[in-house]
C-alpha cells in the first residue's frame, strides 16, 4: 500500500536535489487548454502525455499547466509553449502522439515542430 512514509522519502529525495535546480533561471511553460471545447476535442490525454513525458525525461525546467478556453475552439486541443527567449508557440489540433514529438523535438532540442503550429496546421 502507498503510505505517507513513502511520501516522506520522496520529499527528502526532492529536497536533496533542489540545490542543483535553483541556479537555473526562467523555465519553459507548457499550457494546455482545458475548457469544454478542449476537453471535448481530446485535451485530457494531451495534457497527461505532456505531464508524463516531461517527468520521464526529467525536464526540470519545464512546467506543465492547464488553462481555460484560449479562444480558438475550432483548433482544439490547443497547446501553448512559453519560453523566456522567444515568442509564444501555439500548437493546434494536438494529440498524445504529437505531444511526445513536441516534448522531444521542441522542449528537449529547441526546434519548433512547425507542422503542428497554428501557422502551418491552421491553414
Amino acid at each position: 500500500m502507498k503510505s505517507l512514509a513513502e511520501l516522506q522519502a520522496i520529499r527528502d529525495k526532492a529536497r536533496a536535489n533542489m540545490g542543483i535546480r535553483e541556479d537555473k533561471t526562467d523555465g519553459v511553460r507548457v499550457v494546455v487548454g482545458m475548457a469544454t471545447c478542449g476537453i471535448a476535442a481530446g485535451a485530457r490525454p494531451v495534457l497527461s502525455t505532456f505531464v508524463e513525458e516531461v517527468a520521464r525525461e526529467k525536464l526540470q525546467d519545464v512546467v506543465v499547466g492547464q488553462t481555460g478556453c484560449i479562444g480558438i475552439c475550432q483548433y482544439e486541443p490547443v497547446v501553448e509553449v512559453f519560453e523566456p527567449d522567444r515568442p509564444k508557440t501555439t500548437y493546434v489540433k494536438m494529440t498524445a502522439e504529437k505531444a511526445i514529438k513536441v516534448v522531444h523535438q521542441h522542449l528537449m532540442n529547441g526546434q519548433i515542430v512547425e507542422e503542428y503550429t497554428i501557422g502551418t496546421s491552421g491553414k
Binding site: 502507498k2 513513502e6 520522496i10 469544454t36 471535448a40 476535442a41 492547464q66 475552439c73
Partner: protein
C-alpha cells in the same frame, strides 16, 4: 436537445463523466477557489451515482446560478456560449437523475449531479483518477479533496494531508509525488472492486 448540443460543438460529445468533472472544476479554479472537494459516490443496489463538486470560490448570485445552465451564458468574453455546466446537467437529467447548483457570493458553489446508472442514456464515469491527478498536479497551489465510494467501500485523497508531509518546498506537481498519487489512487480504486 442533445442533438442541438452536439451541433454546437461540431458533433463532438463528452463521453466520460470524469471529463465533465474536469471541465466544471475549471469553473471553480477560475472563481478563485482555494479548496475544491470532488465526491463520486456509487450505490450499486439503488443504481445511483452522485457527483458533487464543491468549492470555496467567489460564488454566484441567484440570478447568475439561474443563468449558468443556459448554454448562451458565459463569463468569458472570447465567445458567447458556455457549455460546461449545460453538458453536465444534461448528462444527469438524461438518466432521469437530478442536477442542482447551490451558491452564495463570497462563500462558494456546490454543484451536484445524480445519475440512474442503469438508464440507457447513462454516460460511463470513466477515468476519475486521471482527472483528479491532472487537477492536483496542474494546480499545485490549490487544495483538493477527492472522496470516492462504492457501496460500503470508500477512500479519500486530501492534498492538505500530502502537503503537510511534503512541507512547503516540495510541490504537489513534482514527478515523484505525481507517481505516488497515481499509484495511491489506482490501489484504492482497485480495492473497491
Amino acid at each position: 436537445m442533445p442533438e442541438f448540443f452536439k451541433w454546437l460543438v461540431g458533433g463532438e460529445d463528452i463521453r466520460e463523466l470524469s471529463l465533465n468533472v474536469m471541465d466544471v472544476t475549471q469553473n471553480s479554479i477560475t472563481a478563485g477557489a482555494r479548496l475544491i472537494e470532488i465526491t463520486a459516490e456509487e450505490d450499486t443496489v439503488q443504481k445511483l451515482l452522485k457527483i458533487v463538486i464543491r468549492d470555496d470560490g467567489s460564488g454566484m448570485t441567484d440570478e447568475q446560478v439561474e443563468k449558468v445552465t443556459n448554454p448562451f451564458y458565459t463569463t468569458r468574453t472570447t465567445r458567447k456560449v458556455g457549455l460546461g455546466v449545460p453538458f453536465f446537467k444534461m448528462s444527469s437529467e438524461q438518466t432521469g437523475g437530478s442536477f442542482s447548483i447551490v451558491s452564495e457570493p463570497g462563500t462558494g458553489t456546490t454543484v451536484t449531479a445524480v445519475y440512474h446508472t442503469d438508464h440507457i442514456d447513462m454516460t460511463p464515469l470513466g477515468d476519475m483518477n486521471e482527472t483528479v491527478l491532472l487537477l492536483v498536479t496542474c494546480n499545485p497551489d490549490l487544495d483538493f479533496i477527492y472522496r470516492r465510494s462504492v457501496d460500503d467501500g470508500a477512500y479519500t485523497l486530501d492534498t492538505r494531508e500530502l502537503r503537510e508531509v511534503l512541507g512547503g518546498d516540495v510541490p504537489l506537481s513534482s514527478p515523484d509525488v505525481a507517481d505516488w498519487i497515481r499509484a495511491y489512487l489506482r490501489e484504492q480504486e482497485d480495492s473497491l472492486k
